[in-house]
């Protein structure tokens, strides 16, 4: 039966990791601005040296 206990602890801690990830994402403000990150990723990485 102890294997059930181990599974229980394992499953809850995995779920706990996701909970921590969620709390961290809220704290770091990922839900505050949902427009700029999605557009920012589309910009080319032009280096300033390209300027003539």
């Amino acid at each position: 039966m102890s294997v059930m206990i181990i599974l229980l602890i394992a499953s809850i801690s995995v779920a706990g990791l996701f909970l921590i990830a969620f709390l961290w994402s809220v704290k770091s403000g990922q839900f505050e601005d949902d427009y700029s990150p999605s557009s920012r990723i589309l910009f080319d990485n032009e280096t300033p040296s390209k300027k003539q």
């Binding site: 499953s11 996701f18 909970l19 809220v26 505050e32 601005d33 700029s36 920012r40 080319d44 032009e46």
Partner: protein
Amino acid sequence: MPGYLYARMAAMDQSVISPVLCSHCGEECITSGIQSDGKSFCCEGCKLVYGIINQSGLCTYYDLNKMPGITQRVKVRKDKFAFLGDESIAARLISFRDENQTHVIFYLPQMHCSSCLYLLENLRRLNESVLSSSVNFTRKEVTVIFLHNEATLRKIAELLTAIGYEPYISLNDLSEKRPSLDKSLLYQLGIAGFCFGNIMMLSFPEYLGVDTSDEGLRSIFRWANLLLSLPVFFYSALPFYRSSWKSLKHRFLNIDAPIALAIIITFVRSVTEVLSGTGGGYFDSMSGIVFFMLVGRVLQDKTYRQLSFERDYRSYFPIAVSVVKEEKETPTLLPEVKVNDTLLIHHEELIPADGILTRGKAFIDYSFVTGESLPVRRDIGEMVYAGGKQTGGNIEVLVVKEVTQSYLTGLWNRNDRHEEKGQSFVHRVSKYFTIAVFAIALVTAVYWQMHDPAKIWPAVTAIFIIACPCALLLSNSFTNGHILRILGLNRFYLRKAGIIEDISRVTHLVFDKTGTLTDPEKQNMTYEGMPLSDVQQSQVAALASCSNHPLSRAIAKYWGVPGGIAVQDFKEKPGEGTEGYINDIHVSIGAQTSDFHLSQKTGTVVYISIQRETVGCFRFSNYYRPFVPALLKTLRKYYPLSVISGDNASEAENLRQLAGKKSVLLFNQQPDQKLDYIKQLQQKGERVMMIGDGLNDAGALQQSDTGIAVSGQVNNFTPASDGIIGAENLGFLGRFIRLCRINRKIVIGSFVISIIYNIIGLYFAVQGTLSPLIAAILMPSSSLSIVLLTFGASNIAAAGMKLKR
């Protein structure tokens, strides 16, 4: 063929050609003379911005979106940001500073697309002293980090202005920082979700019937459930305790009270069951309720962060003004301006305090304050009031009242906002619900007392567990949240969900005229007088195109400006008119009197002179937004209408036709008269919806039961209100009101369904046979079916009205 007829035909020909649009801002180019790299621009300002961007190799700006720029027609005064050079003012705006770097956050209301984002995040390529810049698009803010040894705050503000994003710095920036978003609801939701899921998983063995041989395992599961329910009970459910405690203190039962009671009773009963080893408890039902309720609440509390519904005069007033002392201009923070200071007010600047004009010609546009569409002239020695905008040269004003004491700010402070706008329908229902539940519990207790006293405790607690009005609250918050979303997609933004119900109960609609029913940007114009030849028309238009005055631009557009006409010796007297020579012919637009806007019964008139001889005039009249006739025609069938305007009565006949015979039309209304009119209606028992714009309606908007502000650009500045509606969507107002009324029906419909569920649950509960399994099936299924019903019904309603979903 007579000359004028020929001219008219030529004009018609011109209008067939599709207009050339400015490569920068997308506005129509009136002259074709302004070009660079084969691109046409509407004005020199746009061309200049293009030059700056092109030079830095940032032309991706123009590739990301079509014509993303902001029109540069109205030039920003050169020294506008001089006040940022003042250390004490700059210090209030800077968020962080060390030996090398300064961090500052600017609010840029013009930000609107990914091109803006691209340009603003590449500021360092425009100016080497900028280390980085990052944009928060939802808040329309840019955080700039720069080396303050190489650039000043003023330089950065001017850099932003030069590329078309003028930072908006208002008196509001002086008050404490904007409160950061409340994230606790999201934390609570996350934790409740986590615990709910795990408790469900751990409850399965109990429902499926674990072997009695696994007694040890079963108690481990029960204890794990108990542990997992603690964060839900003590943290996630906090909003419900708080709100019900608040309502109890005010001696009234709101809908959260029975829910808090249900949560507590479920928890206590479950804990006693686990401790005594008699059962597994109802932890899954309890955490499920909390989780679903929080989801509903998060949906309903969806706020439009980029909009502000609580603006007061501080958001409109500048942060600093120039005070003249011993012939020297010193920028001074507005709150530090004292009586007897002399203020220097530039062209297009707001007068921040009541005062006496001491120098210069004042042409003050009070449209913001009073709704009059025409600027008024004031001479030296006369009073000027706060909130007016100077539209001529510079003037000097001697302050006679402090900023906080002026007529305008008084309007704000005087009105005592009635927070209690009547209790919501849901709360009233929940009161009866709670009483009914208590009655059933009492009857059950009495019954079991007589028959089998051992069953009192399980039966009574089961009643409270199952009969929690969560389905009622869920249906309400999900429907509201969904309707808010639909309205928001159609550019009608409400401050909070409760406004939906307020709108559905409105009995009288009051409209403002200027800026609400009429479009302040446009005018109807007619030409009267001697017919002008083709050449003469284009000469007048060429002169008009040199001016930035809205009336001049309207004339230029009316007759069209062919390229290649040079205007020499161009002069513009603000508030009076313009003149210049074209091929040595003197042309002027304006008035013979020194009064450009000769106000008559028929509205605004602009005179045209050629070789100093008046040849004709343009009459301008109000331009109603195109959907106004249809809107008023629909609305007057269902509601009594009033139109109150700060403007004169020249439009009375037009309006009478639009608003119908029974409507009330009031003109020349001061802001406080508007407010009083709303009060009078309310005293007659009407529930008033006021639709207006501008500061002149601010008092009335707040007094009304529902105040809706109309805004050309929703992200721009609107007075404090319950809702903001995009001007072009005002035509849908009738449908919006209907949707709000349907909202109520949907809520009632789902109430009925939830009551059926409650009756089924109670059937088991009163007998004392409510097993955790039945509770665990009944609760989520009732919640889910209600969520589906409300979503489906409100979507069907919106689709029926052809609104965006």
